[in-house]
């Protein structure tokens, strides 16, 4: 799998409250509507101008804070192809896996990329190509790869349930 896209670059410690504000967490169930509030409290221009295929590049501790899964859903429905970060907080990282939105941890690449540039990510080879050169990143653990391939946790679990039923 390869992805190429335009970069939206942000800094360190971007938390889930600014990715998807708490005032919407219990009032919006529609995914498209969630997307309209993506990154609202950090960058109000994002939701209006983001294009499908764009890539977010961020500093350390991306997605720290709450367990709210909408902080992934709102980016996925806007068509974000991948997130490249120096590090990512655990629950958000798992939420992203479970929605099949890849978060690539590659501090070197983050330092090389400027806002608005085009970068490409080769997931099989573990390479990010930037205008200033390429960087390698570690592949996902096996279980993570299987969940991502299935299209997220829900289809992964459904496939496992179907497999078990056919065995019986």
């Amino acid at each position: 799998m390869k992805k190429r896209g335009r970069v939206w670059k942000y800094g360190d410690d971007v938390n889930t409250d600014v990715i998807y504000p708490g005032r919407y967490t219990y009032t919006i169930h529609d995914e498209t509507e969630m997307g309209e509030h993506a990154l609202e409290d950090l960058d109000p221009a994002f939701a209006k101008n983001v294009c499908p295929g764009d890539i977010i590049v961020a500093g350390k501790n991306w997605g720290c804070g709450s367990s709210r899964q909408q902080a992934v859903t709102c980016l996925r429905v806007k068509g974000i192809a991948a997130i490249v970060a120096k590090s990512a907080a655990r629950i958000h990282y798992r939420n992203a896996i479970n929605e099949a939105l890849p978060i690539v941890i590659c501090p070197e690449a983050v330092d090389m990329i400027e806002n608005g540039e085009e970068v490409s990510i080769d997931f099989e080879k573990g390479i990010i190509a930037t205008p200033r050169g390429s960087c390698h990143f570690s592949p996902f653990p096996e279980i993570v790869g299987r969940i991502m391939e299935a299209g997220g946790l829900v289809p992964y679990v459904n496939a496992k349930i179907a497999e078990k039923r056919s065995e019986q």
Binding site: D13, G65, R94, V154, V157
Partner: protein
Amino acid sequence: MRAGDIVEAFPDFCMSHDNGAAVIDFFKKINVEKVYDPKRIVLILDHAIPAPTMKHAENHAAVRRFVAEQGIENFYDITSQGGVCHQIMCENGYALPGLINVGTDSHTCTHGAMGAFSTGIGRAEMAAVWATGSLWFRVPESISVHLMGDFLPGVSAKDLILTLINDLRSDGADYMSVEFSGEGVRHMPLGARMTLCNMGIEMGAKNAVCQPDKKVYDWVAQRAKKSWEPLWADDDALYAKKVSYDLSKIVPFVARPHFVDNGCPVTEAEGTPIDQAFIGSCTNGRLDDLRVAADILRGKKVSVRTIVIPCSWRVYRAAMNAGILTDLLDAGCVVCNPGCGPCCGNHEGTLAAGESCISTANRNFRGRMGDTSSNIYLASPETVACSALAGRICDPRKAAKL
């Protein structure tokens, strides 16, 4: 088994709150009719109760329908038996030594105060656990936090955890297990241990846990919902990092806007004007927290609006019976029903543009309690109560005779 290994585990208790409604949305996409084991599921309404809007009411209604459909007995609706989810889990015997708990709330790490492994998960993950009973986990590295001595007057567990987060930074324990041990833990009442474990997530921790002792065993013996066995690290366990703190050296500490690791001793924030004070939340809404606030406020008047929210109805009743609520009301505080209140900006004290709040809660992210131009300072109940009197941030060691 080593740190970094992936394992499949069957959690003992799976907790959700108002966001259970969103978990139900995911569960309906999974091809099963019934949950794996209704006895393992605990649903506790707390984030916006009683419902402040029709949309919140719809979430609550969806949870109630699911509870009835699936025969879930561990349900805490909006009654005088409920409260903030983590408090209910610890009060009612779901957080037990050696158990594995998961919850769709990042502060699920609070249950570690009872010696449980307990961690926050996402909504799709919870739906998968409801359906299959199991989930994959990565075995975490561990950080040892050894605590010696005892706090001086005016200083408490909140000051310690804010100091620790400031030292380790907001990602210093990312995906790790934080283990609190030593005589400093043994001195602490269980509520203070909950304050410590509660904020483990604010340094990225997967879970936080205090070494369980007789205080825990006596507490859980009267309320355990399941059999349990104490579990603790081996003497020769490997740690990614070891730190130790002498509690007598800890000073009142404040986290300034908009990051929990933007901390400083209260002396550096003294005099900062505030518009609102909040005493409550899963971090600091317990009886000892309300008592220390009442001791400071008794016979005086707050000079800014001060919202007090006991974290459960059990705490509320105990505070009422001890005269604590009367002291707080006489001082001018507004006492709300147990729940999460204004902590995550849902209701009962959201902030207007430019306002500042000093809060005993756990997050001060931009816009969390209201307008994005508002400011949140996190502090101990001692510091918040003293600051409520003065209308500006105060050092409780000077302001109160503690």
